[in-house]
């Protein structure tokens, strides 16, 4: 294992110290339990947005704390859901009297820990709602599974709901909006190489020199199928077709196209992917009106990408365009 770290089990703590030192203008980092909180939290009268999950997906979620996006993030150990005490502390820290929304990625661990935290928060008199993001079409959605994983749409939901909260929309409105984003977003990812969890010290999975994994999860969970390496255009097709069919996306739709790097893939290649995606959607009569290209929801050093499409309307577009000021996403009006 080759990594720029000191001790495998100190990675998260040391990175949090780095974040604290680097972004003191945007966030405060609390330790034990670990949370990253917007510097001016709690913002009175604003719904507080809390998300969190295992570390190793940076900039998500800690890099999305700041005006226009999250109020707090709870970083777990690498690829491991954070614990209820973190979420409870975050909830208390960002409660400005308008309630707190938990944006939860659909993994059993995340869901259960956030449930425990919500119970604890409620019992301390804070109004808490939770929305679970489950946008990964690689996974069968069925009563007989834990349902779909939460992936790329999470980033978009955090941005869009952050803007709505900034507009002082109510907790139920922001939660409803979050469900709407989730309902209109679909994703699928693929890996060229495995990631290496520092504490494990070796690749989570093995892929042959000419194999790729289609439908990979952001923790290196195996995907739909393992196939031979193929040209980017073919891979884009394999990822996009299930996404289009699932919602379904239709001719005339306007979408936000999010081409996400898994961590180890050069930006140059993501633009090649974007080019193929743009052409493919054009063939289907779907127009990309907004885009996001880069490593935003990563899986450590995994090489690969994911594609997320979000069907836009005027409301979602307006909220996407609204100003945001975080370490990971930043723009003005």
């Amino acid at each position: 294992m080759k990594k720029l770290i000191n001790k495998p089990d100190a990675v998260v703590t040391e990175a949090l110290h780095g974040i604290a030192a680097a972004h003191a203008d945007l966030v405060n980092v609390h330790f034990n339990p670990n949370i990253i909180v917007r510097a001016d939290a709690p913002v009175q009268g604003k719904v507080g947005l809390v998300s969190g999950g295992g570390s190793g997906h940076e900039p998500m979620h800690g890099g999305f704390v700041g005006p226009g996006m999250l109020d707090a993030a709870c970083p777990g150990e690498v690829f491991t859901s954070p614990t209820p005490d973190q979420m409870l502390d975050a909830t208390k820290a960002v409660n400005g009297g308008a309630g707190v929304l938990h944006i939860v990625k659909n993994y059993t661990g995340d869901v259960m820990n956030f449930e425990m935290a919500a119970d604890l928060g409620q019992s301390e008199g804070i109004e808490v709602e939770a929305v679970v993001i489950d946008d990964d079409v690689a996974v069968q959605d069925s009563l007989y599974t834990a349902g779909r994983r939460g992936v790329g749409t999470t980033v978009l939901a955090e941005k869009i709901c952050g803007a709505a909260a900034e507009e002082r929309q109510s907790l139920s409105e922001v939660a409803e909006l979050c469900r709407k984003v989730n309902a209109n977003g679909r994703s699928m990812g693929m890996a060229l190489t495995s990631c290496i969890v520092p504490a494990a010290g070796k690749p989570t999975f093995d892929l042959g020199e000419d194999e790729i994994e289609i439908g990979i999860g952001i923790h290196g969970e195996p995907g739909r199928e393992r196939v031979k390496l193929a040209p980017a255009a073919e891979i884009v097709e394999r990822l996009t077709r299930p996404i289009l069919e699932d919602l379904p996306f239709e001719k005339g739709d306007q979408v936000l196209a999010f081409v996400n790097g898994m961590g180890g893939t050069p930006l140059l290649e993501l633009y090649v992917v974007y080019n193929d995606l743009n052409r493919l959607l054009g063939e289907h009569g779907i127009t990309i009106t907004r885009n996001l290209i880069g490593p935003y929801i990563t899986s450590l050093e995994m090489a690969g990408c994911s594609i997320t499409l979000l069907k836009l309307d005027d409301e979602l577009t307006r909220l996407w365009d609204a100003p945001v000021k975080t370490a990971g996403l930043r723009w003005a009006a």
């Binding site: 059993t108 661990g109 259960m112």
Partner: protein
């Protein structure tokens, strides 16, 4: 790691477990988790995200550190709750809330008790498992820790009901958990991260069932040893 120099009470047939026995069981489980950290993680890498051993080890070493630091008040229920709280706040993932709930509910069932009779133990285990079922909504056959715990519980109760000694009952409980653990191999996961794999989850042993077997086996080894 067996730890605390507990004076062995060593009855021919053990009729109860005292506070220190429970402590030794917890420490034994921590040692087993430590020893099996790698293999639990490997099992999880095959059908999950490769952290179950790491998570459980982080949690159980925090538990041991906590127990080392605080003098117990001889309340088995409080002890088990402390274990549960510590797991909840250090493990994370699915294992944290599930094992945390298991111990918390066992603690509630054992609240105020200075020692556990065989039936107390069976009752605590039953309460703990009910908590896990309630939290995780898994049923037997879903390829989860439930698949080791439920047979372990049932075998314990059946053995005790049939008049077995406690030590025997514990061994039968551990053996049933082991069988349940092995029986997860062919199953298709329907809960937790492994369920994302669908049919591809078959052919692998569930990591949570494996750690749950270690838990019941630790009880059998710690409390059944002196017969």
């Amino acid at each position: 790691m067996a730890g605390v120099a507990a004076i062995e009470s060593a009855p021919e047939h053990r009729m109860s477990v005292a506070y220190d026995d429970v402590l030794r069981w917890i420490r034994k489980f921590a040692a087993e988790v430590e020893a099996n950290k790698e293999s639990l993680t490997q099992l999880d890498a095959a059908i999950g995200d490769g952290d179950h051993g790491i998570n459980m080890q982080r949690g159980m070493s925090a538990v041991v550190a906590k127990l080392d630091a605080q003098a117990g008040d001889q309340d088995v229920g409080a002890l088990l709750k402390t274990v549960g709280m510590t797991l909840v706040s250090t493990v994370g993932g699915a294992g944290g809330p599930l094992y945390g709930t298991l111990f918390l509910q066992m603690g509630t069932a054992a609240s105020g008790k200075g020692e556990l009779s065989p039936d107390d133990w069976a009752g605590a285990l039953e309460a703990g498992i009910a908590g896990v079922e309630n939290r995780g909504k898994a049923e037997p056959g879903d390829k989860t820790m439930i698949d080791a715990l439920v047979p372990g519980r049932d075998a314990l109760k059946a053995a005790l009901g049939g008049g077995a000694t406690f030590a025997d009952a514990l061994r039968q409980s551990a053996a049933a958990a082991e069988q349940g653990m092995r029986d997860t191999v062919p199953l298709v996961a329907r809960k937790g991260r492994a369920s994302y794999l669908g049919e591809r989850s078959a052919g692998h042993q569930d990591p949570g069932a494996t750690s749950s077997h270690l838990l019941l086996e630790a009880a059998a080894e710690t409390w059944g040893e002196s017969e």
